[in-house]
Symmetry: C2
Amino acid sequence: MIDDRQRALLPNGLQDLLPPDAAFEAQTIERLMAHFAAEGYARVKPPLVEFEDSLLTGPGRLLAAQIFRVMDPVSQRMMGVRADMTPQLARIAATRLAHAARPLRLSYAGQVLRVRGGMLRPERQFAQVGIELIGAPEPTADAEVVRLAAEALTGIGVKGLTIDLNLPTMVDVVAEAFGLPTDQLGPLREALDRKDPTAVAELAGAAAPLYAGLLDAAGIAAEALARLDALELPAEARRLVAMVADVVRVIDLADLDAQVTIDPIEHRGLDYQTGVSFSLFAAGVRGELGSGGRYVAGADQNGGGEPATGFSLYMDSVLRAIDAPVRPRHLYLPFGCGPVAGRTFRADGWITVQGLAPETDPVAEARAQGCSHILRGADAIPLDAIDIRGA
Amino acid sequence: MIDDRQRALLPNGLQDLLPPDAAFEAQTIERLMAHFAAEGYARVKPPLVEFEDSLLTGPGRLLAAQIFRVMDPVSQRMMGVRADMTPQLARIAATRLAHAARPLRLSYAGQVLRVRGGMLRPERQFAQVGIELIGAPEPTADAEVVRLAAEALTGIGVKGLTIDLNLPTMVDVVAEAFGLPTDQLGPLREALDRKDPTAVAELAGAAAPLYAGLLDAAGIAAEALARLDALELPAEARRLVAMVADVVRVIDLADLDAQVTIDPIEHRGLDYQTGVSFSLFAAGVRGELGSGGRYVAGADQNGGGEPATGFSLYMDSVLRAIDAPVRPRHLYLPFGCGPVAGRTFRADGWITVQGLAPETDPVAEARAQGCSHILRGADAIPLDAIDIRGA
């Protein structure tokens, strides 16, 4: 269906979603949003573009190079097209909804645009869908967000879901407790990312056995927690483990159709994250379906801000993890039927397609229009039945 | 809720939709799209940005000054943020769906962005929702599109709908038949727009009585058609009247919960329109809910293209024309309820809000969270009942 000449009509990394994919994406987004709404997450819709500086606060600063900028002729100020909706949510919580009760539960769904595609995700535009839970520091809040992500994804049909829980500050917390020089933190993180025990031993000195133990601890939640319990952790690191254990306990109660794993040193380079973070994967699907975790919303250079957690789902990955819906039956209404002929069928879930000009061969026309049935009298006759009878 | 300082956080004409408005808009869009889908209109989703030149073809050229432009670092070509989705639909029909059967029925819903707001519509971003019916020149196609617009709008609760049918080429067709100098066409159109019979008489010469008759003909469809029939129209103008009469006949006025009017000289300055066009209004709502009509899709400087008709709805106006939905019942689940406590209530349409920390006053916390009920044992107790009993 797509040849190179037609692809070249659009810039790299941007695409048209055609039938039935566009409807499938939209319906899936609304099902996810309904799931979030049912647990009190109220939808907000920030604009596609806003002043550049408000897009670059907090977590947004990591995406500074990914934002398309345009001059606003009205204000004569630079605006940016959002590359991520979460800074917008933090802005709304800190300003327009500053006086709303906490915890504040918000949801969002919208398009984001990036200057360049990534290696794993060549798309430069995708639909981002997620929630934010603002003003709740408790592990019950982390657990609610993880549970909701898992229930929403399994609810739309994702099979083989894995939730990988991480403690993004663990590496730093241990380094600080052992007094490791800060200039070794970067190389140490890289060695841990490579899972390279020799390099870790060289860089971490006295902390090396503990880092090795943290590396080895990764795995299925119950087992990982047992291995973490057996480690001689500094107090702050032990507090992190207790947090993730609390989260696992609440998730267990929810009886989710998902595997929960823990990788205590995974951090994904998102230096704004604190506490428990997580990534969502489906068996056989490349890349993550989404990710989330704890951070401080609305903090600026002077600190401040509120404890927050949340997650974003990337719809291109999510749609790869679920089956497309069954195509509804399509009924052809031959020319002259009149506009009310299809109503009872549509009320029953059929799609009707009205003939707009007299047909020489109504069955052929019905077939060309992708219909499975044709109206004769008051009945929907399958096209196949007509072929078999030679009618 | 909104003060000036908070407004100034966003550029003029751009806004955050807050709860419950954002969910209301999204749900209304999906209800409209479901209506279009049921009659065979398949959803497409073009990207937010694409190469500038493809946004400026056909009807798109009228919006050239409204498009924000960004340089694509990948292709080193200029891209534009769409100000209107219809040129994108025409591009898709002419390229990716060039070999799909005609008539081709497509639907779309998405955000569009404009450099400047208008007098009547200060918003610079709004949700555009609509359909295109491509490759069908028949009046039955015009009628289907008008009927679908009316049924979709009344289906979501619009009351007092008026469909105003227009013949945007009528002024020119009459002028040509009477050999009026082309340099008088602009002033003549303005005089007709002002409904200024003195100026029309001065500018239109021998055609003045006919233009006066066309001005007078405007009104309720049946009466307008009778008045148009009584005029001595040139052949091409008579053909236009026959087209609009056909459309009115096929729409089946008796079955439509809308008033249909005809204004034969209204043209709204959209010089790409041909045949029958229309605008949609609701009683008591400022501005149009949407508009549409016939044009040639995919034509370039060399002509070509396909007969097409369709319409766009502007969601900001549409939402002003319908009642907001009733807020669902909100049930507070006190701290410690466990994640499955709310499931049966959510399945029944409740919204549940989980307490994340031990409450000193659960009822006050429930109220702060906007809940109408609180869970006690297995029951949802109205907060008001608790207050009355002093519990």
